[in-house]
Symmetry: C3
Subunit: 363 residues, 3 copies
């Protein structure tokens, strides 16, 4: 992972200055940078740390005076946060999983592995599974029967992909992620109290004790291209048709996607989000950390939920939501301002009651 | 998985019509059904999709006119959702785990495996563990020393069962589920700030910095019959006695059950629910997704919590709760209606203050 | 695990009474105790169970009259809850993992294992990893390349430690815990709607559809001494520098710690807590179960959050918080009292309006 300043700039489509033949082999915050590091000082306030570190080159904001900062070389990018994507991809030492098929892996003879696939120690690949070219199957991973993984997949240690799951190209899964657990779907012989509560908004009716029968998940999971799934996150199978995830969707850790859910393209699903069964989510939606979405709802394109929003009703396209139950963000802010002033309001009303009562007496 | 219409109807205790010798080998939504599928059109609105698909037979609602719908055969069920339980069990292709003991599994010679037990590749079974007849131990599963699994268990890939855990018949565990992690129990040498805050409702007193000592979990986990545990869910050991789960309890993914918790029979614990230590939950309780329950509480039989309810106090039997902090559902709905009207209330009170003040002046 | 009463008392620094040579081999609640158990009756109300059980010895509260309770021997401790730490450590039968290196483990020849390290079946240890003396690496664990684990680590089954993670002494990890998943960091080519919403508090501006580019995590995770990590919990790598956890921090199950987070010493992070990227948490902080903390915040020393608190702004040192959005606990209690009285307040204001309007007419 050693590159010249020139090579990095070319790769990022950024401008390079000074001794662009200088070689760097890592990136660091300015104050902690070693001689061989490219310091990251993409805002003027970060540049203050440069004298404390030993970097000879830095990535700077557009228009920065690199010579004034005492550097030998510099790269500037118009949108430095975006440049970090390319730079970090170049500099990532990765997990160092060995190429090739580890002899301890248990691979069914009918499984089809593409060119250049690597399979880590103690991984299991089931019958008729198909793994696309150049994929990396990490240690302790499990790929079920008839599962399909597109080209360029990268599965960290202990990822579990159930039978008949279909995933597109360039899938990334963090450790312990699960695709294709069975959906959570149970039914009582007679109408259950939950069904009655839903109909009556709170009245359970007679309370009979019933046991649950299991509805098996006959569907599977279909995932598009360029999807990433966080550590220990779970995407369940559909009941009849597949649970469906579009292209470019990114899930953080410990997210939960229920059976039959449909998610469009280019969504961000943050950590510990839960989406209940059969809910449909549009394109370019962002669900903040710990957001919960009830079952059978619809969330429109470009909707955004703030952290821990609990969505109990449909959300129209473009809406920004916050709170429990979810409200438009502006409403939430106004309402919660009021909430904090509530104790004073009670005092004001009590005073008014006294004044009016007194005025009534004096009339 | 091919059955005649006649066989399916007999198995479900449902009525069959038309050419009941017709063979189907799958189920599908009406519009997506192939010739060999049984279409699922269990409500009149779903039947509209039949002409778009190719199904010759369908499962319909009671009283449906199957001939009018252009079908060759049909099954009708009085409670179609319940019929789905039996039908989906018949039609489930499952994970296709191979029968028998995979040679790569590491099984302690003292472990006792019942008749017809299958053990997947790279599973580990500890000393003196006992596995009931007909159980399926999936790939990468771990069963600890002295653990007991009843007959007919079905463990998906990567399930972890700790030492001395006892589980009844027909246990199902989804990928990555954990039973028997240690409880989260720590104590400071002197009274901690948390203990003081609990006593004083908010006042920490003097802030001394203390480190935590670990209280080990000497108890284990005891689970009844017909329990299902979701992907990456966790049930912790008890401190002195066992954490206890009754019969027929179903847990969705990423649920967390703390040490010493007791749960009765036939409860539904939805995804991402957390139940803190030593709380007791009755029978037929439903905890909606992302519900949180504080420690040392009691939740009565047939109680229901809506999604994301945060239970900070005991809940009586039969109560339907919602919100944070949890309130009766009716109260919650009334209160939150008020909350949204709060900004107007402030304006009304301000207007009243003005009117009263003016009236006082004119008196 | 058999000890005399005398040995236990000496180990705990507690007082022993009666036949202190009596041997016990387990602990139990009073009513369930066998002859060989030490009954735990550390509060007077628990002693009532003693006659129902068969214990001959008990651990009692300071000043208890053990002879009156019909015991042959007793131990009393000034802070019995703290004594449980020592007692439970002595009595813990543990998981019974076998010592030594299991032949099925896959250990890179360049990995360095300290004295007395045990490695369970089917564990994987990567190149140049270093494991401290006396550590126990459980079955199915994964230790990545160049990872460092201090002395006395105890890793339950299926723990995953990524490449270049550094962990201090006496680390404990429950089943399925993950350290060193990649951070969740994505960027759009142009300014994204989320960035705009953050700036404008709710206005997304024009809605362009963009795909996300991945920012790789070049940092790793650094963890201090005496840290415990719960089942299926996740700590992500940092983007440039390491995510940092201090000494003595205890995490319960299913907790999520985002990239670049810094946590001080001796914190308790309860189950299902989520801390978003780049947030800094001081020393002796307690985050109650299901607490969520937004990104880029600061939480001061000795702060405490109640269950399910959602922290959307900085929290000063020593503050006790509750609610969503988080408020001071006293404020929260007052505000929510008001919330429940809100319907009555609306009625009161309506009555006032009527009275004032009537009074205005009669003027």
């Amino acid at each position: 992972m050693s590159y010249s300043i020139k090579e990095i700039a070319a790769s990022l489509g950024a401008e390079a200055f000074g001794n662009t033949d200088l070689i760097v082999s890592g990136v660091a915050e300015p104050a902690m940078a070693q001689v061989s590091d490219l310091a990251l000082a993409m805002k003027p306030e970060f540049a203050a740390g440069l004298p404390m570190g030993r970097a000879r080159a830095a990535m700077l904001w557009a228009g920065a005076d690199w010579q004034e900062l005492g550097l030998e070389a510099a790269i500037t990018a118009p949108r430095p946060r975006f440049a970090m994507a390319g730079l970090s991809a170049m500099m990532d030492p990765g997990q160092g999983y060995a190429p090739g098929i580890h002899p301890s892996a248990v691979i069914d003879p009918t499984a089809q592995l593409g060119d250049g696939v690597s399979v880590g120690p103690l991984a299991v690949i089931g019958a008729d599974a198909r793994i696309g070219d150049g994929s990396v199957i990490g240690p302790h991973c499990f790929i079920g029967n008839d599962a399909v993984l597109g080209a360029g997949a990268y599965l960290r240690e202990g990822v579990k992909i159930g039978a008949r799951v279909t995933i597109g190209a360039r899938f990334i899964a963090q450790p312990g992620a699960v695709v294709g657990g069975d959906g959570f779907s149970f039914v009582t012989p007679e109408e259950s109290t939950i069904e009655r509560v839903r109909d009556s908004l709170g009245d359970q009716g007679d309370l009979a004790s019933q046991s649950y029968a299991r509805i098996h998940s006959l569907g599977s999971v279909t995932i598009g291209d360029d999807v990433e799934l966080g550590a220990n996150s779970c995407i369940d199978r559909g009941t009849v048709r597949d649970t469906r995830i579009g292209n470019g969707v990114k899930f953080d850790n410990l997210a939960q996607i229920g059976h039959n859910v449909e998610i469009g393209n280019d969504c961000l699903i943050c950590a510990q989000v839960g989406v209940a069964g059969s809910t449909r989510i549009g394109n370019n939606v962002v669900l903040g950390g710990q957001t919960g979405v009830s079952d059978n709802l619809f969330i429109g394109d470009h909707a955004i939920t703030g952290g821990a929003t609990k969505v109990l009703a449909n959300v129209p396209a473009g809406r920004v939501m916050l709170g429990y139950p979810a409200m438009k963000m502006e409403t939430h802010i106004e309402v919660y301002k009021g909430l904090r002033r509530l104790p004073r309001l009670f005092r004001d009303v009590a005073a008014l009651q006294k004044a009016v009562s007194k005025s009534a007496k004096t009339d």
